[in-house]
Symmetry: C2
Subunit: 331 residues, 2 copies
Amino acid sequence: MPTIEQVALLAKVSVATVSRVINNSAYVSDDTRQRVNDAIERLNYQPNALGKMLRKESTQLILVLLHSVDNPFFSKIIQGIEEVAHQHQYNVIICNTYGDLDREQHYLNMLKNHLVDGAIFISNTTSVKDMEWLEKHYPIAQVVEYYHDCSSAYFSIDFYKASTDMMNILLDAGHKHIGFVHTGSSSIISAQEKFRAYVESLQQKQLPLYSVYPTEVLFGFSEAKAQAEYLLNKHPEITAFFSTSDMLAAGIIDELLVRGKSIPEDAMVTGFDNTDYSIISTPMITTVELNSFDLGSKAMEYLLRKISDKKTEPEYYFGDYRIVHRTSTKK
Amino acid sequence: MPTIEQVALLAKVSVATVSRVINNSAYVSDDTRQRVNDAIERLNYQPNALGKMLRKESTQLILVLLHSVDNPFFSKIIQGIEEVAHQHQYNVIICNTYGDLDREQHYLNMLKNHLVDGAIFISNTTSVKDMEWLEKHYPIAQVVEYYHDCSSAYFSIDFYKASTDMMNILLDAGHKHIGFVHTGSSSIISAQEKFRAYVESLQQKQLPLYSVYPTEVLFGFSEAKAQAEYLLNKHPEITAFFSTSDMLAAGIIDELLVRGKSIPEDAMVTGFDNTDYSIISTPMITTVELNSFDLGSKAMEYLLRKISDKKTEPEYYFGDYRIVHRTSTKK
DNA sequence: CTTTCAAATGAAATCGATTACAAAGACCTT
DNA sequence: AAGGTCTTTGTAATCGATTTCATTTGAAAG
């Protein structure tokens, strides 16, 4: 592994000159430039990134923490982040936490140890208190999931409003017995807001609530199917389901079909996120589409501002969304 | 941002001693240890990772390059890699290339610049020649996709054999007109082997081939549906489809259902990878399940051996697979 | 009372780059 | 010819850690 020093030696110049050639940072005569480039070529020299980063006190690296990449919904967000990052010569590092605090802390050390210049949380496990502390010391931003009582910046959508819109579709279609299906952590803001919208929509019309207390199991087709089965056994009067993701909607649909119901005639179902699942499912699922790419890029742009100027004030952004009407609710 | 020097100053010891306390690497009296820890606490000191890495000439970082995290099939592989990596105090960095060579090269600089100790390619865009060169200079491994004429290690499955098994299911069910549907790059080994199995299975029985030349579009539901539509219009005699992924199978199924065919009575369809798509689809899809976690962990274990001993010989591993029989082929 | 060895600590080199500063030469200008 | 500017290069400090080597101290052994 050749170093800059060996290049300098071979080219018979100082390391400073080699550095100048590499970075094109100052006057170098054509002759020496040639010699240096030859030496670089001959030695197959690759500058050591660590040396550079240490000296520059900047790594041009951004950490993205998320539950797990296997949620396809996250993919577009990441693309948005990457797009902006690459435009500014930043590289993006994606790390899976699997909702495990230890693992998250472990990866967060990259931030604390200055291995990355900033971090974006797509779904956080860290407590509000720790987030607040991080916000004070490092450039960070939250995407989709966030803490309302945390001063750190976030880029999300108004889940309450979107969910209320969804509930209105079911209510306007005349449904009076609407079930709520959710699996996964109930501590995240999106889950809370969706549930709040469900509850308040029904309470305003004095309609009954049907929901199972969220299990702490992960977003799953089978879990949703099981919840739907449980609810339908207990309350056969249910004719519609509001669920918090497309995958769950698919599970509910499966259960309804097994029971011989036809959709949307006998029962309606709604999903969330407009993932591929909503198209693959038969019938296709009515769902909420967020501009996730936009959320990712907006967050990254903010982070860049924050990195270059520590005094940048945190921003709080709610992006657009639209409801995609499909067969699962459309007669 | 406090440095080790400021800690030393505050604790009235040398930086060497602070380092000893942090790393527990040599004799330190209880008294000074206490003082150092107090200073660390008071300054809220976090050691700078770059300094450490530079000196140690090891970053404990592994780069994972893949097309894009939005292919859920990759998720289990990554989990396998992470599991082993974390056991050995390595961190994993995931980077999306989107099949873009420039982007891949860009990320590969992390390897060339010694920012990571090794790399795993889950789906590579780099040419065989470049891979061969990388193999000579850095610890690398390939997972799932690989180059047969490249000496670098790989961990995959025998796609030809698995695909032949699949074809036999369709052939044994009596089908004589079987279509092949594939979208995405045809340069990857899995696509080639699957296609080879399709062709040879039919040729052995002197049966006709039905396939569209693969478009370079990405793995898509709609593209698969369009291909099925095209093939069925041209060759109404087709009664079965062998497709290279679950998502594609879902697209084909959709087209068949639109045409009023019932599955599996009128037509059969097979997928690949056993992703969630194969369960969500109605009917559920017969598919091939790989032990992806195992492939990931095996690759990571090899990489660790290679890192600690450059002379480790490359390994070539074919993992287990099993066919999951579901409604799309089961009468 | 010397010798020996372990424990405890610090000074300084080192990892591989960037960059401030200094200095020397070339080329004009007046 | 003196002074100024621009080009070109090198020396050495610096980033923040680890680690080698040397030194000191104190206790145990002879």
